[in-house]
């Protein structure tokens, strides 16, 4: 549970934000220079607000009215930075135990073994940070932050310095942390894909003000159009379950209430999975096509159409099971098919657009 109400004025920048959220993963999103990192710095205690308050987990970190402003070391906010910032002169193990050493014994709730195992850093403990790869470094940074038993994990663009494969690895780790340990997470990210997959709630920030907040799907399409101006930024996130792996063809079938989703990769386990689908990779049909190569066909109802007179329309479908799916199609096609709000449609997603990159 985080509650903040902050104002900060600088020569060329003004920030004024108020929000209360009990999301497990709260995402701060916006273009660079929008103030999302400033907000993160305010929460971590790197900078002080001109006035306002921050309450995390019932503890007042900042309240300018009563003169409270805890120094960073008293806030117990576990920060994960873009470039890990491991201590180069200490072993991985000393890095990981650094925060625990400073946590009062009564407050040490973080389970060492479980964290080490979940993050897969057990075999790295005797190494030096300089010998680690980017992904390994970030995993160690997560372990270090978690072992300080933080009230909140603050991740400031934790994947921005990683390549795509490492980014996927870290995303699934954040999912695991979210589900296994109960520490709430604030994720600062400029990537709609990361937010669609990880966050329960997204806050869109621009020029120091909150433009929108809500479920990632509800706020990201409009907001990302506004901010990024690109239709390729629209990412849907669907919650599915791994059903079976077809070894012969190297594909995995995922069960979704609206239909089967086929992914061109072998996924392990039988657990929940999230699939990120770009709005531009979704086509619409009035009837379920039989003779098509598209294997993923989901049933839904048109809940909303955003067109605004542009050639493109963004169609929001409500799928069986409650997930929402945004499709980017031409306005021409919509009119020729006679689609409108309330129409029953089939969403066609090419499986090749759903390889493990989008997972």
């Amino acid at each position: 549970m985080i509650s903040l109400d902050l104002r900060l004025k600088r020569e060329d920048f003004e920030l004024s934000c108020a929000l209360t959220s009990d999301a497990r993963v709260l995402a701060l999103h916006g273009p660079s220079g929008a103030g999302k990192s400033t907000l993160a710095h305010l929460i971590a205690g790197v900078i002080r607000p001109d006035d306002g308050r921050i309450v995390v987990d019932g503890v007042t970190l900042v309240d300018t009215e009563s003169g409270v402003c805890l120094p960073p070391e008293k806030r117990r906010i576990g920060v994960v930075f873009q470039d890990a910032l491991l201590f180069p002169h200490l072993s991985v193990k000393s890095n990981i135990l650094f925060g625990q050493f400073f946590t009062p014994a009564a407050e040490r709730r973080a389970p060492f073994d479980a964290i080490i195992e979940t993050l897969g850093v057990g075999h790295l403990l005797d190494r030096r940070p300089a010998t680690l790869s980017g992904g390994e470094r970030q995993r160690v940074a997560f372990a270090r932050a978690l072992l300080s038993s933080p009230r909140l994990l603050l991740m400031d663009e934790p994947m921005a310095a990683l390549d795509h494969a490492r980014r996927l690895e870290i995303m699934s780790l954040i999912e695991k942390l979210r589900d296994e340990f109960r520490t709430p997470i604030v994720l600062v990210s400029h990537s709609a894909e990361e937010i669609a997959r990880l966050a329960d709630e997204a806050v869109i920030i621009d020029k120091g003000h909150i433009l929108a907040r809500g479920a990632p799907l509800d706020v990201l399409p409009g907001a990302s159009r506004l901010i990024e101006g690109g239709r390729f930024g629209l990412i849907n996130s669907l919650a599915a379950r791994i059903a079976s792996v077809d070894e012969t063809y190297g594909v995995t079938r995922l069960a979704h209430p609206a239909g089967e989703i086929l992914v061109t990769a072998r996924l392990g386990g039988t657990g929940a999975a999230r699939v990120a689908v770009r709005a531009t990779d979704v086509a619409l049909a009035k009837s379920s096509p039989i003779d098509t190569s598209v294997r993923t066909i989901l049933r839904g109802t048109i809940a909303k159409i955003d067109a605004n007179g542009s050639p493109l329309a963004f169609v929001t479908l409500e799928l069986a099971g409650g997930d929402k799916l945004v499709a980017a199609v031409t306005r021409l096609a919509l009119d020729e098919l006679g689609l409108a709000k309330g129409s029953e449609v089939f969403a066609l997603v090419k499986s090749v657009a759903l390889d493990e990159r989008s997972l």
Binding site: A44, P72, E73, P88, F98, F102, R144
Partner: protein, 228 residues
């Protein structure tokens, strides 16, 4: 060659004592000033930097004269220390150590400052987010990361202190057994009719120590450079 007289040995041990004390007491100040210059922006930053480097450009005899005025028995600081703490610098080996410390200070501050500047300042911030106070973050993260710079500063400072002459002889004169360090002894020997051989021996010894210190500091500096 190593046929040293009692006076020579006295001068050598006195020099080591003076340089050792000078380095030992000046290093903490050098760390503080070096850190302040590297990390903090404050009014008077440039002025402090200039004052630290002043002994490098002033004639040593002027620095010695200034020390005499300030730390002499009747000088404002010297009189205060004598009256309240019982510390006397004038014409004592402690005065020689003070002169050596002041003269070697710029050489100590520079590598210390560079070492602090080459470490990522955000690491201390990371340490604080993990619960370390400002002081702990300094002691556990910033200081160890600057360790090589401190070592280089200490070696350069020691070598410089060993060779200090102008400010020392102006401030504390050249009293055998008390303030006659190797350079003062060489100078005194050269004034005597048959001191050349002795002077040569002492010169060789001080050159050996100085070269050894330079080699050590070069080796450490290249390690420092190779790591970052």
């Amino acid at each position: 060659m190593l046929d040293l007289s009692a006076d020579d040995l006295t001068a050598i041990f006195l020099s080591l004592k003076v340089a050792g004390a000078s380095t030992f007491f000046a290093l903490p100040f050098a760390v503080f000033i070096g850190y302040a210059l590297a990390r903090w922006r404050f009014p008077g930053h440039a002025a402090l930097n200039a004052i630290v480097h002043l002994p490098l450009v002033l004639p040593p005899v002027v620095t010695g004269f200034a020390l005499l005025l300030l730390f002499g028995r009747r000088g404002p600081i010297g009189a205060f220390l004598d009256a309240h703490l019982g510390i006397v610098f004038a014409f004592r080996w402690t005065g020689a150590a003070l002169a050596a410390a002041v003269m070697s200070f710029p050489l100590m501050v520079r590598p210390v400052r560079l070492a602090f500047e080459s470490a990522d300042p955000r690491l201390a911030g990371a340490a604080r987010s993990l619960g370390a106070s400002r002081l702990w973050a300094f002691a556990l993260i910033e200081l160890p990361l600057a360790a090589n710079g401190l070592l280089v500063g200490a070696i350069l400072g020691f070598a410089k202190a060993l060779g200090e002459f102008g400010a020392t002889i102006t401030f504390v004169s050249s009293i055998p057994g008390e303030t006659r360090t190797i350079p003062s002894a060489i100078y005194a020997l050269l004034q005597a009719p048959d001191g050349d051989a002795s002077a040569m021996r002492l010169a060789a010894i001080s050159a050996t120590i100085a070269v050894a210190a330079l080699v050590a500091s070069e080796a450490l500096q290249s390690r420092l450079g190779g790591r970052s």
